[in-house]
């Protein structure tokens, strides 16, 4: 498939993109997360697309997954409205506050903290400590 983006043409391996997207969607909807951090590497490294093509389009692809996943979880009775009403305003408020903080901290520092934090949480879940 050829994608035209702002005057540049890119050849995209559709099979790899769709297969990868499918697998990421199964796992992310099963465990209830978005999947962005896996989609972006898939599309940049796997499909060889530059970042400026990926940022918007990966979000669009994930949105499909989130909508379907939400509908299916609702169908299976996994949706708790009260719990949602607690989290939803917090998530939106976070979306407003985060850009203010982002101006002051370096993304590299945040990523380094995330590496350690995620690894610790992972080891805890795996029962290592």
């Amino acid at each position: 498939m050829t994608v035209n983006f702002w005057g540049h043409e890119f050849k995209v391996n559709v099979v790899l993109g769709c297969l990868g997207g499918f697998l990421i969607a199964v796992v992310s909807s099963m465990f209830g997360f978005g999947g962005g951090p896996f989609m972006v590497p898939l599309m940049t490294v796997g499909l060889g697309l530059p970042m400026y093509v990926v940022v918007g389009s990966s979000l669009l692809a994930i949105f499909f997954n989130t909508m379907m996943g939400t509908a299916r979880h609702y169908q299976f009775g996994n949706f708790d409205l009260t719990f949602f009403l607690i989290m939803f305003p917090a998530a939106i408020l976070g979306g407003f506050i985060a850009p203010q903080i982002a101006k002051r901290v370096s993304p590299l520092t945040v990523k380094r903290i995330a590496v350690v934090g995620l690894a610790l949480l992972a080891l805890n879940l795996l029962g290592v400590y």
Partner: protein, 417 residues
């Protein structure tokens, strides 16, 4: 514009709170009289025990004293359960001991009491501690037999359990499978114990050694009802065996602001904690460029007794709004390749159709285990993004991204004017 929108949000929150907390005058003014329980009298064990409780109302748990008189020389058990019901499911994929075949049957109920606990004589404390020490392998059936309470376990044994024969194809197309005929009473009871374990996780949530029995048969138990359980009516029954039960006594558990009952999760929780946690994680999520779901899901199932399917199914929609507004902003400046996004998106729709079905087939431990590995991979990805080689490449990419974005914005503006 934004202010009005925030005002709407606050108004919505206020309405929600109003709906969740009815005026105090409506709740719990009339102590509920002890319901006439079907006390079977004709039993070789003698007359059924009498029962008295010292309170009819609790405020988010507390201590309640249950006392009475049972036939002398008998152990006395006390069963307590709440009237709020929740869902529980268990997927049986363990090979059969005799045939070695895996059954792949999904057991599911929507009638599990949100709270159930059986109190046994204090002398059985050792056996309970042993079960607790054996970790995740504890088995309610054998534990009940050990403490001589096999006949006492009654309320959850009678819940309606649906069985589905799952198939690989069925799971792929997202069906629970064919519904099997209802189970016989004994089998229903046995399966209900597995569901009780799924619901309450730890043996000390289901069993407690609190009943002190005197030689003359008088008994007394100081029972601590834990915080964070469902509001509503709780029933207390004392029993010496399966057929000799006391009348039912009952008390009401109240919760008030800021505690909130999550009906689908069957747990009461202080609403500020999940709010603050979500806020903190979503800020951090935006900063590190990954959604908060990665951190929220495992933390919520670890910190609170929330079922993992409910957490996954509720965390997922919270990001819908931010994703939607992101897409809107990008589309305004034509910064989305619809062809690319929709093509991969269609593959992801299929995946999103299958995934939520699989959530109910796995246990909490499997959920945590797989999540552990996902997070390790994610942590590795993040580490890769902090390596010098990636940073150098990324710097160039970001510069191009910025340039293109500015071009796109300028273009959109020019057209707008």
């Amino acid at each position: 514009m934004r202010k009005r929108w925030l005002g709407g949000l606050l108004y919505g929150a206020w309405i929600t709170l109003g709906a969740l907390y009815p005026p105090a005058s409506m709740a719990g003014t009339t102590p509920i009289p002890a319901a006439a329980a079907p006390a079977t009298t004709s039993s070789p064990a003698g007359p059924p025990p009498t029962i008295k409780i010292d309170k009819t109302s609790l405020d988010n748990g507390g201590t309640i004293v249950v006392s009475g008189k049972a036939p002398a020389g008998k152990p006395v058990f006390i069963e307590i359960w709440g009237d709020k019901l929740v869902r529980a499911s268990h997927f049986d994929a363990k090979p059969d001991k005799t045939t070695g075949k895996r059954p792949y049957v999904l057991y599911m109920t929507s009638e599990m009491p949100a709270y159930y606990k059986l109190f046994v004589p204090v002398s059985d404390q050792d056996k309970l501690s042993q079960a607790k020490a054996s970790g995740k392998k504890w088995n309610l059936d054998s534990l009940l037999k050990e403490v001589g309470a096999a006949g006492i376990y009654s309320t959850p044994g009678k819940i309606k359990i649906d069985r589905y024969q799952a198939t690989l194809m069925g799971s792929i197309v997202g069906s629970r499978g064919q519904m099997l005929p209802a189970m016989a009473e004994q089998e229903n009871r046995r399966r209900s114990m597995e569901l009780v374990k799924v619901r309450f996780r730890s043996p000390d949530k289901v069993l407690g050694a609190e009943v002190k029995v005197s030689p003359d048969g008088a008994y007394r138990a100081e029972i601590k009802i834990r915080k964070g359980i469902a509001p509503g009516k709780y029933t207390v029954v004392a029993a010496v065996d399966g057929n000799t039960r006391s009348q039912a006594a009952s008390f009401e558990n109240h919760i008030g602001f800021p505690l909130i009952y999550l009906p689908n999760a069957g747990t009461s929780i202080n609403l500020f904690w999940p709010f603050l946690l979500t806020l903190a994680i979503s800020i951090f999520g935006v900063l590190m460029g990954a959604g908060g779901g990665f951190i929220m899901n495992p933390l919520f199932v670890s910190l609170w007794p929330l079922p993992h399917a409910v957490v996954a199914g509720t965390v997922m929609p919270t990001v819908l709004f931010s994703q939607g507004s992101g897409i809107y902003n990008y589309s305004k400046i034509k910064f989305i390749s619809w062809k690319l996004g929709v093509t991969i998106g269609l593959a992801m729709v299929v995946g999103g159709f299958i995934g939520p079905k699989l959530t109910e087939l796995i246990t909490l431990d499997q959920f945590k285990f797989v999540f552990g590995w996902i997070l390790l991979v994610l942590s590795g990805l993040m580490f890769w993004q902090t390596t010098p080689g990636y940073l150098a490449k990324n710097k160039k990419e970001q510069a191009i991204l910025k340039e293109f974005k500015q071009k796109a914005e300028a273009n959109a503006k020019a057209k707008g004017n």
